[in-house]
């Protein structure tokens, strides 16, 4: 798989333009709700797969990447909405760039376009599960077993495995029907041979007795043994000038046999067609009956779980447990009946196919006679009918095809051509009118026809044997595949169960050190039960808190991905799911990611700033491998907490005359900086219980606090008689006093014109000085050398005002006494 080196996004979802340098390492994006974090995840997912999970699946009807992928102001310009990812492919040791546009999501531009790189990225595109959102977590943990099974099966690509099994099963059914049909052909050929030789059985001595009697008449040597190479008409060609090809007596017998067979047509296969139609009615429509059969094991398992009047699935309370059990038992019985109906249907279908095949054999022989008699009209009719019956028999091997034959099965399924019997009677009359053959000629034609019939019989046996071997091979392969599949899935679920339990214990070991989980797969469902403080196994949502359940979701996801990809699990996008881990257990979660997945690059978003800091202190990320958004506007997209770049963006907006965009960016940057400085300097704005401080409350209190701290620093320097410090502080105070921005903030409460709500209405010339004033003001709060924001330390009773490089370090404690 891959790792991400860098991400470039333009006009996609809520992002206007954004570059992130991920450097193949775990990366965190922090920001309040609505700041554009998920938009970045959407963009990366789109870059990798061409899809956006949030715009597809359940509950997203009417949404699409083409219509809702671009930024809302660029929906008519999908070509402008693009993502460019620089990726590293560890298995190939190569780096590549993949660029994907909303206008052509399935045609990414890959550079270099090496075949191995394209193949690797095509594989990545098939794995949208690399992205995990909180929505997916809930589907793993709190959903019912059948739904969980579907979700997990989708991740494990069990649909692909199921398709192979289904194809093997279909092949097995088709070959079983083909074998049954071939056996019917053998029976038909055998009867034809018996009929011609006028023998009761096809035992070797009976055949040879009938044949040798004619050979003796023709003074041909007797055939001693009947082997695979024996020719019943051997030496006949050498003894006669013209090879005999027609046996009048035999032909008449054949025609009579066919006429007799037609007499039985009205009732032929009646029982089979009746049973097939009944079974089709019982099964309902093709799709619904298959859906019903899928529920069978789920219902049967549920029956065993009923211990009280409350339904374990929907929590409905019944009058008694017995009443609920009877209700579920009735459902189980109905589904069992459906399974039996399916088997019954296929059994009768195979029998009907055999009947059709027998008729096909008779038609073949009759057609030969019609051809010999040059009755091309009858021969054509028989050929068409024969082809139709062969196709009909071929369709009787799958429920889908049989369903399509419902109309034919309801009527006369044979579709016997009209006036057939008249035509057959005519050819019979023509044969009867032929002069009787001499004994010698009759013997010659008898032998040549016997050889043809024996050849047909042998060929039918060969075909039947081959069909039997094919059916056996298909059955063996299908059963072998099912055994391997079952063993492998049981092993997989066992390993996932172990990993899941281990991961969860790693996070929650302090209070759930003995946690275990059990995954119980049955056909169509996957039950998950977890140990609750050694009181037994229960569904995750029974006793665990929602926070713990979310933690389980992440752990189950990690366990599944580990087993699915093994060492190729190198990238995962966790969209705000880390929030679901309790605050007390986050450090352990970081350790889990670091220690158990050292080769996996996680892209993590969170709206909790504290959590982002915890990830840093745990060593999962660094300042360089994280970014914070402090807001979002429709014009700018995510506002990145970056003091250096924001002024360039504002200047660029002003240069284009976009005062509203520049005003929005300045306002958000001031909000970010004011909040940060209020925190770092210990400012005391009027308290708000909801923590939603207005810029007009924060900034003046920050300025006041800063001035107070500088005053304290000046007093301290005076008490220590520190001339150098006194000079430095004096310079700072003078610079602050001369700052237009400071003057503006001091006027904040009284002068409406400087209030940011009015900014968007300013002209460019009016707003440019406002920007310059605030830029100047904010610079007063930063170190001139390292550019970091100043902070008071310690927080409770500050003793110094410092920067990160310590170049600025103003003592606040005066000399005692």
């Amino acid at each position: 798989m891959i790792k991400l080196e860098s991400v470039h996004i333009e006009e996609l979802r809520g992002v206007r333009k954004l570059d992130l340098n991920l450097d193949k390492r775990t990366f965190a994006i922090c920001g309040p709700n609505g700041s554009g974090k998920s938009g970045v995840i959407d963009a990366i997912e789109f870059g990798l797969t061409g899809q956006i999970g949030r715009l597809s699946g359940r509950g997203t009807k009417g949404l699409s990447v083409s219509d809702h992928g671009p930024h809302v102001d660029r929906v008519k310009f999908p070509d402008a909405a693009l993502v460019s990812l620089r990726v590293f492919l560890p298995a190939l040791g190569k780096t590549a760039t993949i660029t994907r546009k909303v206008s052509s999501p399935k045609k990414p531009v890959i550079v270099p376009a090496d075949a191995d790189i394209k193949a690797a990225l095509a594989e990545v595109a098939e794995h949208p599960e690399l992205t995990l959102s909180r929505r997916e977590i809930l589907r793993f943990i709190v959903s019912e077993p059948t739904k969980r099974s579907e979700e997990i099966q989708a991740i494990l690509r069990l649909d692909e495995i199921g398709q192979t099994r289904s194809a093997l099963n279909s092949a097995q059914n088709k070959l079983r029907t083909a074998h049954k049909t071939a056996m019917a052909s053998v029976e038909s050929g055998k009867l034809a041979l018996q009929q011609h030789l006028q023998i009761a059985t096809v035992r070797r001595e009976d055949v040879l007795a009938a044949v040798n009697a004619r050979r003796k008449l023709l003074t041909l040597r007797a055939i001693a043994d009947l082997t695979a190479d024996t020719k019943l008409d051997a030496d006949l060609l050498a003894e006669t000038s013209k090879p005999p090809d027609f046996d009048k007596t035999s032909a008449l017998r054949e025609v009579q046999a066919f006429t007799d067979m037609v007499g039985a047509f009205p009732t032929l296969g009646k029982e089979d067609t009746t049973k097939i139609l009944e079974a089709l009615d019982a099964l309902g429509t093709e799709s619904s009956f298959k859906e019903e059969l899928r529920k069978r094991s789920f219902i049967e398992t549920g029956l065993g779980l009923i211990a009280d009047p409350q339904c374990p699935l929907c929590d409905t309370t019944w009058s008694t447990a017995l009443a609920l059990r009877q209700h579920v038992a009735a459902k189980a019985l109905k589904l069992k009946t459906l399974g039996e109906q399916e088997q019954l249907l296929l059994r009768h279908a195979r029998h009907l196919a055999a009947e059709a095949t027998r008729i096909v054999g008779a038609l073949t022989r009759l057609n030969r006679i019609a051809f010999q008699q040059e009755d091309m009209k009858l021969s054509g009719v028989l050929s068409v009918w024969k082809a139709d019956l062969e196709a009909f028999a071929g369709k009787l091997s799958s429920i889908e095809d049989i369903s399509e034959l419902r109309g034919r099965l309801s009527g006369s399924w044979l579709l016997q051509p009209s006036e057939l019997l008249t035509q057959v009677a005519a050819v019979k009359s023509r044969i009867e009118a032929l002069p009787d053959q001499s004994e010698a000629l009759a013997a010659q034609t008898f032998l040549s026809t016997a050889q043809v019939r024996l050849g047909d019989y042998r060929e039918a046996m060969r075909r039947s044997e081959a069909a039997g071997l094919a059916a056996k091979a298909a059955q063996f392969a299908y059963e072998a595949y099912c055994r391997v599949l079952e063993d492998e899935l049981n092993t997989l679920y066992d390993e996932v169960q172990q990993d899941f339990s281990t991961f969860y214990r790693d996070i929650n070991g302090s209070d759930e050190a003995t946690f275990t989980a059990k995954l119980t797969p049955t056909e169509g469902s996957l039950a998950l039960d977890v140990n609750f403080y050694e009181r037994g196994l229960f569904p995750p949502s029974a006793f665990h808190s929602e926070g713990h359940q979310d933690g389980m979701g992440v752990c189950l996801y990690l366990a599944l991905m580990k087993r699915l990809f093994g060492s190729r699990f190198t990238l995962a996008l966790l969209d705000d799911v880390v929030m679901s881990v309790d605050a007390d257990h986050r450090y352990q979660f970081c350790k889990l990611l670091k220690n158990k997945f050292p080769d996996t690059q996680f892209i993590i978003t969170t709206h909790d700033r504290l959590w982002a800091e915890q990830m840093k202190s745990a060593g999962l990320i660094t300042s360089k491998t994280s970014v914070a958004f402090h807001g979002w506007t429709i014009d700018t997209g995510p506002l990145v907490e970056s003091a250096d770049e924001i002024w360039d963006e504002i200047d660029a907006a002003l240069a284009k005359g976009k005062v509203d965009a520049a005003a929005a960016a300045l306002r958000h940057h001031l909000e970010y900086a004011a909040r940060l400085l209020a925190d770092q300097l210990g400012a005391t704005p009027p308290f708000r219980g909801d923590g939603n401080y207005e810029l007009g409350e924060l900034l003046p209190s920050v300025l006041k606090r800063f001035k107070d701290l500088l005053g304290k620093a000046a007093n301290a320097a005076q008490s220590w008689n520190d001339a150098e410090a006194k000079a430095a502080i004096g310079e700072r105070k003078a610079a602050l006093a001369a700052c237009n921005g400071a003057a503006t903030v001091e006027q904040w409460a009284v002068n409406k014109a400087v209030h940011y709500n009015e900014w968007a209405n300013f002209g460019k010339a009016d707003f440019t000085p406002v920007v310059a004033a605030y830029h100047e003001l904010l610079d007063r709060f930063r170190c001139a050398t390292c550019k970091s924001w100043l902070y008071a330390t310690p927080r409770t009773t500050p003793e110094a005002l410092r920067c990160l490089c310590n170049k600025t370090n103003l003592n606040l404690r005066p000399q005692p006494g």
Binding site: L156, R157, L158, E160, I161, Q163, T164, A167, L168, S170, A171, K174, L175, A178, A228, R458, M461, R462, E465, A466, A467, L469, A470, A471, K472, A473, A474, F476, A477, A480, Y481, R483, V484, L485, E488, L492, R563, L564, F565, G566, R568
Partner: protein, 58 residues
Amino acid sequence: MSTLQQKIVEQFLEKLAVSPEFDANKVEPLRELLRPQNKIKTEDLVRIFSMADGGDLK
């Protein structure tokens, strides 16, 4: 094709290859059919399973 699917296919083919009950000549065509990214059709499987040498009249 997922790792799991690959693993199952490999074990499946190995099982067939060592089984005296299964014609070894069919294993390679099956391997070719079940390779990653291939769409498996029932008719292709029927063709492979029908590849028996064929029996002589006995």
